[in-house]
């Protein structure tokens, strides 16, 4: 016989059509060290096989299992139910600020399209015929570049960002942090191109520095600081005119 403490009351977002959906209630048995992803997997495997969700590595590396948990964006594979549940209840929804494909799966295209729009791609500065230039990992600039390279593209910062909510075209914290990393990477040959890309209508200057990106980043990165760096560099280049 199970007691109230042995069962978790979980409401999960179910997409009914392209535009709307509703929360469906499930009772899931509690287990020790249970993660939110474990809960979703349990529901899909034991209670409703039509539930759609996305995950891959289960260890916080791939960035594919992010969802809204009790209204906050989290990487579900590394979020313990014990910490996320409020009064024995859990609400799980798809990531905010992205179109929903089905249930807990969002369309990540807008998120990755913005990485490209922010010129978050490699701009070669040498050819394969050139000698490999060693990178000095102790310089101040390399230290700044290193601060952003652990991003796993989970889109938690993007879901947390109220500026993205208000302005759907805004490039968002992840793409801008990538841009800032490239600006500080001596191997990248497109610094001007990147600064130009983030200075357009929906670029870094729309950030209100509210800091939700930094607050929620599961890897404890600081996109807000990266965006401030971009604002500083672009302002400097503007004043040089």
């Amino acid at each position: 016989m199970t007691s109230k403490d042995d069962v978790l009351s979980v409401s999960v977002w179910r997409q009914t059509d392209d535009e709307t959906g509703t929360f469906q209630q499930f009772d899931v048995p509690r287990q020790e060290s249970q993660t939110v992803l474990d809960i979703v997997s349990y529901i899909q495997q034991n209670l409703d096989s039509t539930l759609t969700y996305r995950f891959a590595c289960r260890v916080g590396m791939c960035g594919s299992c992010a969802m809204m948990v009790n209204g906050e964006p989290r990487w579900t594979c590394r979020t313990h139910v014990q910490k996320a549940a409020v009064d024995g209840k859990l609400q799980i929804a798809p990531l905010r600020n992205l179109p929903v494909i089905k249930d807990l799966v969002t369309d990540m295209d807008p998120f990755f399209d913005k990485w490209t729009k922010a010129e978050g791609v490699h701009h070669p500065s040498a050819t394969r015929h050139d000698a490999i230039v060693p990178v000095d990992t102790t310089t101040a600039q390399r230290t700044i570049a290193n601060e952003g390279i652990e991003c796993i593209n989970c889109a938690i910062c993007y879901a947390a960002c109220d500026t993205v909510s208000g302005n759907g075209d805004y490039l968002g914290p992840a793409a801008l942090q990538r841009a800032w990393t490239l600006v500080n990477d001596e191997r990248d040959g497109g610094h001007e191109t990147v600064l130009d890309a983030v200075s357009q209508n929906d670029g870094c200057h729309n950030c209100h520095s509210m800091g939700s990106c930094t607050h929620y980043c599961p890897n404890e990165l600081n996109p807000m600081k990266a965006i401030a760096g971009l604002k500083r560099e672009t302002a400097k280049s503007w004043l040089k005119w």
Partner: protein
């Protein structure tokens, strides 16, 4: 919606407004210590190139700064975009400039010009 040019214009006008706001508040507090009439205000401002420049610059800075800020609010809260957003931004800036300029002119040179 906010590109580098608009961002810099808003920041630079903010920079201009900081001493002007402090000067304006300090002057207001100083001037009303013993009560002040309209006549006394006009006596000090009429014909004054210094006050004309002080508040004239203030009005220009406010017009640029305010219209860009209003643009952000309209875009994020009212989903206004594209040409409509540009036009409303421009209209707001021009509107503030006209209203402010009229006030500055009225207390400095209007009486003398008529």
């Amino acid at each position: 919606m906010l590109n580098l040019r608009l961002y810099m214009l808003q920041r630079l006008t903010a920079l201009v407004m900081v001493p002007l706001v402090i000067g304006h508040l300090a002057m207001m507090i100083y001037a009303i210590q013993d009560g002040l009439t309209v006549g006394e205000i006009l006596q000090r401002t009429q014909g004054s190139v210094a006050w004309f420049c002080f508040y004239g610059l203030f009005v220009v800075a406010v017009s640029v700064h305010g219209s860009i800020g209003f643009r952000v609010i309209l875009h994020e809260w009212a989903n206004l975009r594209g040409r409509a957003l540009d036009l409303v931004t421009l209209a707001t800036g021009i509107g503030l400039l006209i209203l402010g300029s009229r006030a500055v002119w009225a207390v400095t040179f209007a009486e003398l010009a008529s």
